[in-house]
């Protein structure tokens, strides 16, 4: 059973419950797990906290979750491409926490890697430092940033074997590789499902031990 993690997309998305925190890989829609997102829009699961690099566009990828008002709180680095995000933010309908992109990536990585936090020079002297501990190391000031974790991560993979080993293609990798390490349940949408042994042990990017379930997306 552990050895074939394929699951029906409905069952997969049903694992996401109202109020959960989800991470979704992707950058302006590139590398979003589009089928999982569409199914989540269909289910209408609500009050979600969404951790994603951005809120994409209103009609593309994670942007649809915003338009469908399923997100209670958004943690992202950039929301400028989705006017509905700005509208809900300004209207007080959705809480938005803006984080520098490198810090967001590192927070997710730290969550997956069991680190209690890290020191970054990014954001020092800006509003980003508000409420954060500042630590000086060898004369340079850093912000102590804390890890992020999620209940469920939705990941887009290119080729995925039935153990969950993932190979990405092109710029779709972005946050997917990191988020696959940082959630209790990790669901990967595979463009192509491979048999175990078909992927080269040197080329696999995400080891299958991180992956809970695989949804076979089929070739676009």
């Amino acid at each position: 059973m552990h050895m074939n993690k394929e699951i029906d997309i409905n069952k997969a998305v049903d694992l996401i419950e109202d109020g959960m925190t989800i991470m979704v890989g992707g950058f302006l829609g590139c590398g979003n797990p589009h089928r999982l997102i569409d199914k989540l829009v269909e289910k209408g699961t609500k009050d979600l906290t969404l951790i994603c690099n951005d809120s994409s566009f209103p009609d593309f990828g994670v942007g649809k979750l915003i338009v469908n008002k399923q997100i209670k709180k958004l943690i992202a680095s950039h929301v400028g491409t989705n006017p509905e995000t700005g509208r809900q933010m300004n209207a007080g309908e959705m809480e938005v926490i803006l984080v520098p992109q490198g810090t967001l990536a590192e927070q997710v990585r730290a969550g997956g890697a069991g680190l209690g936090g890290f020191l970054t020079p990014t954001g020092v002297g800006t509003v980003v430092e508000e409420g954060k501990q500042k630590i000086e190391i060898k004369g340079i000031e850093y912000l102590l940033e804390l890890p992020l974790k999620a209940d469920v991560a939705l990941i887009a993979g290119e080729a995925v074997d039935t153990y969950g080993n993932i190979v990405y293609f092109g710029a779709t990798r972005n946050f997917n590789e990191l988020m696959a390490t940082a959630a209790d349940i990790v669901i990967v949408e595979a463009e192509e499902v491979k048999q175990v042994g078909e992927l080269d042990a040197n080329d696999v990017v995400t080891p299958g031990i991180f992956v809970t379930y695989i949804v076979n997306g089929g070739a676009i």
Partner: protein, 219 residues
């Protein structure tokens, strides 16, 4: 110069700041145009913070692959020798000082090298994206922008908008001149011969330092 000529003029001058082997990150908009003016014969490695290096030109419509987009979300290509990586590696490259220059636009920049380019309270809050990391981490930070915005000054004594980073800007390139931010203030290294020093100063809130050997801003 019309606005397009202004942008080309600025992009060309920035191109001359780059050296063979440099790793460079170009922001969206005007900065992206620098890619058209890289020094001849030099190998410049363009980084895209969403996860790869050696960004190539946009493909033909029929060759577009939605899996290869730049940080502006537009389909691009990757040149031979390019590499894809995840966002943590991408920002490790940026924050770790492995990017020689980043070129970005600005809403405001000041004589302390402070930069504001990510939000206008109450109006526009798109988020900082990768800009804070880029400005903090890149070895050199170059601002590419029109000297003023509809007449409003953008090169200030002190930024009034929320900062992107404090004290990180190295160069400011506008249609009026090429400026360097030093600890004494902003030095007008080169001036566009279409303008006088007085005109540049009038369009600038910060007091410009005018060196004796000020040069003509060639492109």
């Amino acid at each position: 110069m019309d606005r397009n000529e202004i942008k080309q003029f600025i992009a060309k001058r920035i191109g001359r700041l780059l050296h063979d082997g440099d790793v460079v990150n170009l922001g969206i908009g005007l900065p992206t145009m620098v890619a058209n003016y890289l020094p001849e014969g030099a190998n410049i490695f363009l980084q895209s913070e969403n996860g790869f290096i050696m960004v190539g030109p946009a493909p033909l419509k029929e060759d577009e692959d939605m899996r290869i987009v730049n940080a502006g979300g537009q389909c691009v290509t990757i040149l031979p020798g390019g590499v894809f990586f995840n966002s943590a590696t991408s920002f490790g490259i940026i924050r770790g000082g492995h990017v020689d220059m980043t070129v970005l636009g600005a809403l405001q920049v000041d004589e302390k090298g402070n930069l504001a380019n990510w939000m206008i309270p109450g109006k526009m809050v798109p988020g900082m994206g990768g800009a804070m990391d880029l400005v903090t981490g890149a070895k050199k930070v170059t601002i590419a922008m029109e000297h003023t915005a509809k007449g409003a000054k953008k090169i200030l004594k002190e930024c009034t908008l929320p900062l992107t980073a404090a004290g990180q800007v190295d160069y400011i390139v506008t249609e009026m001149g090429f400026m360097e931010v030093t600890k004494d203030g902003i030095v007008l290294r080169e001036i566009n011969p279409e303008f006088t020093v007085e005109q540049v100063q009038d369009a600038t809130e910060a007091t410009l330092i005018i060196p004796e050997d000020i040069k003509e801003m060639g492109v």
